[in-house]
């Protein structure tokens, strides 16, 4: 039967030629892989769009595009399309960039200040369906001064603004001629970056080829393919079979490559935290004593060891313990006795079933996690089991965001997040009380703390590094006194790559990872061994 089937397929090869003429999704270009200068990596998710105007490349490493600035391996800013770091006015409201001369887009047209102005103005335009535009909230206007200078005007002093200018720059001469939301730029991008898109077969793979005229020098890796493989096991199998040169893998699967001499495992540290929101609107989760008890009742070390297979760190706040922004001394020991003492003193008395009670309120609340997310499920169950030991009942439930979101004001949620570039990026939206009551995902726990509000504002406005550090120290100390969120872990991201590409690096990674991050964050600088 299989013989017949293959014959049938062979007869249809002729038909396939005809079908190929009407092209695969996003086809174009030619070339073949398999040589030393070709790299194929497996990732779990693909971007929604490749247009910078709709949010692609907002955090840099955009391959096809460059930003004005970019990050090095240690997440320090360095110039890209700009010739240097920006000049900042004394009031902190204007940023002036000098632009690199002689840079060309991959279609041969020159890059100039009008492309920068076009990109930022289009993103801020009301008609542009860009879901990330909130990140540029501080930006009032962009102005071109001649061909090679741009000035950004801000609404309010915003210290980390330069971090936002790693955003990919789109070509005005192409973008302005089409509909920003549906035009070709979303699938057939043209940029100044080290790579050009050959083909994007949605749901299957993205293929890039080196830009031979790249201003930073032509990349040594000439062909770069990112295969989109959602299933972790399939990705691991295809890596083992040699179909892939590298892949992102969960810790347990990455471990199976540990003894493999031909491959290297990379463990990237991250700001990617898992956290339990303790909504103020819940009589139990909103109680400061319950919050403080839970904060010391959870065994973070056990979670790192058993859930993450050791690939991660205990989290005591949004900032990981190895960051320069971390406040030493805010680490909390797992201490069940201390938790029981806090609750006993506050009047939460144990009932006959071991669950505490105070003024007729049972110490019990629901905890939701995104259904299908194994990592969050494991965290939620471990959290509930630790809480139970202290006499607090946490009822773990699974749901989609559609189910969870309307309950966020009163039910706890196992959430994730984290942005390494600046502490303001995730802390302001997560902890500031101005977001309380909104129908969005900011400040999911409805956390209200005037001291935190003040520190967060100080942190984003002040230009002085020491002052900013002091402000975020205040935030972290306040989170010890009134932990509206129980931070559980910071997760390391694991990658396995063939060692024929030499020793690679990883950046400190954000919550969203795998596409722009991972060892291939700077594939344009890789030096393949012969």
């Amino acid at each position: 039967m299989r013989g017949a089937a293959i014959r049938g397929a062979g007869a249809l090869a002729a038909l396939a030629v005809g079908a190929a003429a009407c092209s695969a999704p996003g086809e174009g270009g030619s070339g073949s892989a398999g040589a030393d200068d070709s790299v194929v990596v497996g990732i779990a998710y693909e971007p929604d769009t490749l247009s910078p105007l709709l949010g692609y490349g907002k955090d840099g490493n955009a391959k096809i595009f460059d930003g004005l600035l970019t990050h090095d391996a240690d997440m320090n800013l360095k110039p890209a399309l700009a010739t240097g770091l920006p000049e900042k006015s004394a009031d902190g409201l204007t940023y002036t960039f000098k632009l690199r001369k002689g840079v060309k887009f991959s279609d041969g047209k020159p890059f100039s200040s009008k492309d920068v102005v076009y990109t930022y103005e289009t993103i801020l335009d009301k008609k542009t369906n860009n879901a990330y535009k909130t990140e540029l909230d501080a930006l009032k206007s962009v102005e071109a001064k001649g061909e090679d200078e741009v000035v950004f005007h801000l609404k309010y002093p915003y210290a980390p603004f330069a971090e936002r200018t790693v955003h990919a720059i789109a070509p005005e001469h192409i973008g302005a001629k089409q509909d920003v939301n549906t035009g070709d730029l979303t699938t057939k991008p043209v940029g100044t970056g080290p790579y050009e898109l050959v083909k994007w077969s949605k749901g299957e793979k993205l293929t890039f080829k080196a830009n031979p005229d790249y201003w930073g020098g032509a990349p040594k890796v000439k062909n770069f393919t990112m295969a989109i493989i959602k299933d972790d096991d399939v990705r691991a199998t295809r890596l083992r079979s040699g179909d892939l040169d590298g892949a992102i893998l969960p810790p347990n699967l990455a471990k199976t490559f540990a003894g493999d001499k031909g491959r290297k495992t990379y463990e990237a540290t991250s700001f990617d935290y898992r956290v339990v929101t303790l909504p103020t609107g819940n009589k139990v989760a909103g109680d400061t004593d319950i919050r403080r008890a839970l904060d010391v009742a959870v065994d973070r070390k056990a979670m790192v060891d058993s859930i993450l297979d050791g690939a991660g760190k205990e989290a005591y706040g949004p900032v990981p313990t190895d960051s320069e922004w971390f406040t030493k001394g805010t680490e909390r020991k797992h201490d069940l006795k201390q938790a029981e003492k806090i609750l006993d003193e506050a009047g939460w008395k144990k009932g006959s079933d071991g669950i505490r009670e105070k003024d007729g309120v049972r110490a019990s609340f629901p905890l939701w996690y995104l259904s299908g997310d194994k990592l969050r499920q494991d965290h939620a169950l471990a959290y509930a089991s630790d809480a139970k030991k202290a006499g607090i009942e946490v009822k773990v439930q699974a749901g989609t965001w559609e189910v969870i979101q309307p309950r966020m004001d009163r039910d706890a949620v196992l959430a994730g997040g984290g942005a390494p570039a600046d502490p303001d990026f995730d802390q302001f939206t997560m902890l500031h009380s101005q977001f309380v009551g909104g129908n969005d995902f900011n400040n999911m726990g409805f956390y209200e703390n005037p001291a935190v509000d003040k520190a967060l504002e100080k942190g984003r406005e002040s230009d002085d590094k020491a002052e900013r550090k002091a402000a975020y120290d205040t935030v972290q100390r306040e989170l010890v006194k009134n932990p509206g969120y129980t931070f559980l872990t910071h997760i390391d991201h694991m990658y396995v790559v063939n060692d024929s590409f030499g020793e690679l690096t990883t950046q400190v990674e954000p919550h969203d990872h795998g596409f722009a991050t991972g060892p291939w964050w700077n594939v344009e600088d890789w030096q393949p061994k012969k």
Binding site: A13, V40, N129, T186, K202, T225, E402
Partner: protein, 326 residues
């Protein structure tokens, strides 16, 4: 050929198709609107987690999903009649382009599988009917009943596990090899084998059982007995007489299997990452992508109606007693 009668039937069917298509597209809009999924959240993706409420509201207005259901459907319908099927939210592309890029690959897969199923099914069915109760008949029949119960995605995973992972003789998925950027006929052919065979095998039992029954019955009929009495060769009796009248029910089956073929193709395409319309359909449904969803559903409805029409026309041609009354 009774061309006039056939044209009349096709015309009548076309008239019926109009209200059917209207009802189906409206139904899709209504179901999508009633679903708990929010198109704005689906569009925003990870951006939705950090976006401010103003940004989300602005998106909602820009995408037109704050309009009432009937208005949205009517806007879509009138634009579609002018050839503009709107923009797919999830693909960030015009719907026409999304379907144009993918439909060819889905048709290639479905047509290959359907042809395989018909040819294989007929062959096995005839062989089984030749000696009812023989070992071949019993083997084929029980296999057919077994396969009838097996869901296509399960068969697909089984095939991937065996042929791609264990034997490593066929690619596990995609249209071409991962490292390749060219769509060549040879690569597409090898990548087509597994999904087409799985889809064919999932459709096979119905054809086997119908043909076996039809030919088996025909072998008992007078014309066949007459032919045998005249000493005509068994081969001619089987293929020229019995198969010919036994194929009649199979013609109806072709029409009625089209919907099953489409849903089967959806599952098979998903398992094998085949870049057809299936992946687009699944994404359109979970992201409440009204425009794409409605266009795809209308397309599937049209395919089913057309399949039925073709089956009825063929039946009328093969058996003049039935006629073309529709």
């Amino acid at each position: 050929m009774p061309w006039a009668a056939m044209a009349r039937m096709a015309g009548r069917r076309l008239l019926v198709a109009v209200p059917v298509l209207l009802a189906v597209t409206f139904g899709v809009f209504a179901i999508a609107a009633a679903s708990p999924f929010d198109p704005v959240k689906a569009y925003a993706g990870t951006g939705g987690l950090t976006a401010s409420e103003q940004t989300l509201d602005q998106l909602r207005a820009n995408l037109g999903v704050d309009q009432p259901l009937v208005a949205r459907w009517w806007d879509w319908l009138t634009a579609a009649l002018h050839g503009d099927f709107g923009t797919s939210l999830v693909m960030r592309q015009p719907v026409g382009q999304v379907i144009g890029e993918r439909l060819g690959w889905s048709v290639l897969l479905a047509a290959t599988a359907f042809l395989l199923a018909i040819v294989l099914g007929t062959t096995l069915g005839v062989l089984a009917a030749r000696r009812p109760g023989g070992w071949l008949d019993r083997g084929v029949t029980s296999l057919a009943y077994g396969l009838e119960a097996a869901p296509p995605f399960w068969l697909g995973l089984l095939a991937v596990w065996f042929f791609a992972l264990k034997l490593d003789v066929l690619p596990a998925g995609g249209l071409t090899d991962t490292g390749s950027t060219v769509v060549s006929a040879g690569q597409v052919a090898t990548h087509l084998v597994l999904p087409a065979c799985v889809l064919a095998v999932s459709q096979l039992p119905w054809f086997v059982l119908y043909v076996r029954q039809g030919v088996g019955d025909a072998l008992e009929e007078d014309p066949v007995r007459g032919a045998r009495a005249r000493g005509i060769a068994e081969r001619t009796v089987l293929l020229g007489h019995a198969l010919r009248s036994g194929l009649l029910p199979v013609l109806t089956l072709i029409g009625s299997r089209v919907p099953e073929l489409i849903t089967g193709a959806l599952l098979v395409e998903t398992v094998f990452s085949w870049p057809g319309i299936a992946a687009a359909t699944v994404e359109a449904a979970t992201s409440v992508d009204f425009a794409l969803l409605a266009a795809l559903t209308a397309l599937a409805t049209a395919a089913v109606l057309l399949g039925n029409l073709v089956a009825d026309l063929l039946y009328g041609l093969a058996d003049p007693r039935v006629g073309f009354d529709g």
